[in-house]
Subunit: 672 residues, 2 copies
Amino acid sequence: MDIADLRAAHPDHWMNAAAIRTLALDAVAAANSGHSGMPMGMADIATVLWGKHLKFDPKSPTWPDRDRFLLSNGHGSMLLYAVLHLTGYEQATLQQLKDFRQWGSRTPGHPEYGHIDGVDTTTGPLGQGIATSVGFAIAEESLRARFGDKVVDHRTWVFAGDGCLMEGVSQEAIALAGHLKLGKLTVFFDDNKITIDGKTDLADSTDQQARFAASGWHVQEVDGHDPEAIDAAIEAAKADPRPSMIDCHTHIALGHKAQDTAKGHGALTDAEQLQAAKEAYGWNYGPFEIPDEVKQRWEGFGARGAEAHKAWQSRFEALSDRQRGELERIYASEPPKALSGRIKALKKQAADEGKTVATRKSSEMVLEVINPVMKETIGGSADLTGSNNTLTSDLGVFSAENRSGRYIHYGIREHGMAAAMNGIALHGGLRPYGGTFMCFTDYARPAMRLSALMKAPVIYVMTHDSIGLGEDGPTHQPVEHLAALRAMPNLTVLRPADTVETAEAWELALAEVTRPTVLALSRQNLPAVRRKHTGKNLTAQGAYVLAEAEGKRRAILMASGSEVQVALAAKALLEAEEIGVRVVSVPSIELFMEQDEAYRKRVLPAGPVRVAIEAGVRAPWDRLLLGERGREQKADFVGMTDFGASAPAEVLFEEFGITAEATAEEVRALLG
Amino acid sequence: MDIADLRAAHPDHWMNAAAIRTLALDAVAAANSGHSGMPMGMADIATVLWGKHLKFDPKSPTWPDRDRFLLSNGHGSMLLYAVLHLTGYEQATLQQLKDFRQWGSRTPGHPEYGHIDGVDTTTGPLGQGIATSVGFAIAEESLRARFGDKVVDHRTWVFAGDGCLMEGVSQEAIALAGHLKLGKLTVFFDDNKITIDGKTDLADSTDQQARFAASGWHVQEVDGHDPEAIDAAIEAAKADPRPSMIDCHTHIALGHKAQDTAKGHGALTDAEQLQAAKEAYGWNYGPFEIPDEVKQRWEGFGARGAEAHKAWQSRFEALSDRQRGELERIYASEPPKALSGRIKALKKQAADEGKTVATRKSSEMVLEVINPVMKETIGGSADLTGSNNTLTSDLGVFSAENRSGRYIHYGIREHGMAAAMNGIALHGGLRPYGGTFMCFTDYARPAMRLSALMKAPVIYVMTHDSIGLGEDGPTHQPVEHLAALRAMPNLTVLRPADTVETAEAWELALAEVTRPTVLALSRQNLPAVRRKHTGKNLTAQGAYVLAEAEGKRRAILMASGSEVQVALAAKALLEAEEIGVRVVSVPSIELFMEQDEAYRKRVLPAGPVRVAIEAGVRAPWDRLLLGERGREQKADFVGMTDFGASAPAEVLFEEFGITAEATAEEVRALLG
């Protein structure tokens, strides 16, 4: 790779790209930390993409019809920050670049959604960007089908590295995108043949082009440093109805002593070598210095988008009031006005009828109410539709042929589903929910963590939430999953006990705009425990008194979901012995811990012995059992301490001692 | 598919296969639960594989040189149970088949390792079997390179379904196996075009043959009901030096009314339809009835293996005493005698020198001691070798060209690495360890759960275990991961505070034979806290008194790993105010909870206020903070309540308030 030839062939392009390279070098050197090599390798591609193709308006970073860009190889964050700065995003000041990776800056080590305008998703954990992009592309297709291409017509672009493509989740994404023929999705593969450990051939010899082609992608191969070739490939990608992968041969850390080496992947901070690279680039400027004509060219790219935005605005305003209002509502994540009343009506009906039903089935009943009035929901399942009860009668299936469908058969791809739902949620205008078995939250966990970190209000419909699923056995029975999910910041776990609580849980999940929600639902039938209707959403407080002690209150039983009935049955046993028992239903420990202290004390007053019951491990309950600062409390737990087993559900509850009798015995023991 | 033609073409084969089909039908009907369709679809393949190719000895189920068989589509467990019964595995009685999916049976809903002889790994969570198989095949190659093909020469066979191949982890496995040219691995793809939601084309249109070929696999396509074609394909697979995928066109629930439908995937229990299927098979026998000549033919297949086993035994006995002894030792998972002394010596040196060093670096120092004396270790990393410090000087790299290497570049494939390590551990004769960042345990979690469930002593070297990793930011900073891992049954989390504790942690991990271990290691340098040498492994007790109060003991500080130094510094502050403080180092909460009550009380006596410090979420500490049954305790926690941030590590500890001063202030507040 002769830098001089590259410079000579396209001098303006070269300098535009060199601005990215040198900003990355300077910022990483200033932070003494970060990744210089990827921005240096992909600068030419970025320059062509932003320069000629990407639809964006730096003055209006959240314009709904902008193209989306996802930096799947997020460690190369300085590339994106550099471009945001160069094109004139207000938040991307030069000072922010100088504060790269520092406390309180908008420029963290990896691009973080919500930290700076122009970052459409958080990346860093490899493979997530490409997997999330599928959701962005689905959202665009879905909204275009609903509102027309005058107001919805944008593309999704992804930069991805070897690491992204080695991660399994990329296969789920590739297969799903290919199957759904998401033609407006383009992935640039930074094919630099280098990973952290050394050359990629230490660990991989996959023919990536053949692999993408096997899933129905349009595939091209280009010199990633030839702007004309890149431009032509982008044009071809746009013209093809399939999703496109452009295999870009690049040189990591181009022009630096560390070019084409694993060292080039990391922080290139040696001052002399840095200077030598700049000289090779013909870049005679100081740190963070951008010559005016380069800055002007970059700002011109941004101006192109401003014009497109203006034209779009006219088309948007030409929409009918109803369409425009609906678009504004769904982009603002406001639930439709009719929703609350419908859910209240369902709650009343459920309380009145008192049917015994699995909460996964309750969830379906709620969805049958929600989906017809809330057209922005987009459901799905990782091939467990009939078990998760996620498909309602009016949705239709979203497919290559039917973009109006609102249900996605994600295939056996829990991780890809979760990541795609992140993309759908972040895109805006849609409320994704998707189902699998609770146990397989393990498969989806990296993407679920990103939901929480990005404050993306994805709804996870996780059925078969305990040993109560029975014969499928320990591989399918969650034991530690509730604990593991509750440990995650900014995620609400709701484990409703019956249809009324399930309706309340859905109402909360749909009202949430900054947190993902996990609905933990039973496979097995559960009796109705909320038989007295109230319009108030009791689940919102996380825990509440479901049944008061008949005489003197000597014990408090706490439980969630399918174990609330166990608590009620234990209460009956104990009350017969004149032991007064309060039963507290705890659909969400997190929401309860967010209530004020007065409420928490009212629900869990000091004095009575406490027993919590949940068919899972104990850890999340300790705070509630033992008092937050260790006040005197006699307490114990009825639950699981090991993996489950394969047998009918009722046998398992009996064998693992999660029964009314065992609970009552625990209370008797604590009362001495 | 005309059943009559199949019957007529190969009558003996047909009846052998029908035995599998009818046993599956009968057992599922008896359990009223399970999956009939897969065994009915893959019975012909199983019959050819066990009948002519698989090397196995029912009388000696753990014979080390047997072929391994992994049922990746584990829901079809009845296929495997049927074959184990038919070939004469003692534990696979007819009664066990009748007790399919019942409490206490050896025949759970999915094949569970350790429940019944002949199940080489637990499957059920899709994709795990194929991913685990890579480890089995690696183990075979590695041991063959060391001990020669006279005593190590076996194959690994996998049945996998559409679900397995849709799961992302399958891509990690396929790419790794292809790259490593694991030629003795063969995967039969049950290409029946049906998943739970319906036809596979609802969610997938991947050309699986092209996909495998893209990763260097030998690929064939056969009629999965033609025994001659299957046999020929197996022969071709054996002859090819690449791993082989045989795309088998099959009919799910062959011969049943539900054939070729999603319904056929599940439990086919309708008595009339079941009878009709048996009639179509020409199977005129009652439930669970196998005609003698069929049983004899199947037992003959087992006898073939017995002969092979006998021949192997002679070769094994012809080994030198040293080689035989070594093989026996490593298959018995006994650490070498020299190990303990070497680790003690390292501990003494570390205590004497008192170097400030990151525990990931300490881990490397320990590995430099372990690997030369313990030749059965096989290390690796998911492309973070230099960060995880997992490669020591003497290992060499395991590759297609060098089977003697003991270090695997797993690529950016945390999940595939964990699953492969399960396979290596279950194969026997090797002790796998592998590294990635603690945060990416999320990617590996489904396979880590199987390590715990299967009691496979895999060692997870998880570095960068907190916000202490600094600038990479929240996507890379574990916050909830320690809690999530500690919630998992049968998994030991060890978070050592310095080099001495790291050496003790490794000693425990290597002595463990029924539990996986997670070593949580710091990126950042840590001061030595264990400066007085003792031969005793203090980490084994989970928690111990590291520093006693100078005067009256008024507070107990508990901490793990990098926060032990914070506790010691807080103690210094408080002692200066004449507040006596005990510091308890807690490398493992799980191991501490396993100690007897007397010990636990000795370490954490009632009375003093308690503060725990860990750069993670609080939940796992509540038991220790608050007392197990809620005895009077004033306690609080210094740690994380939300995600981390991108900044230098020392800034983060300060900003998140995980400091000696904040801890001391907490103690002062509790003391009032």
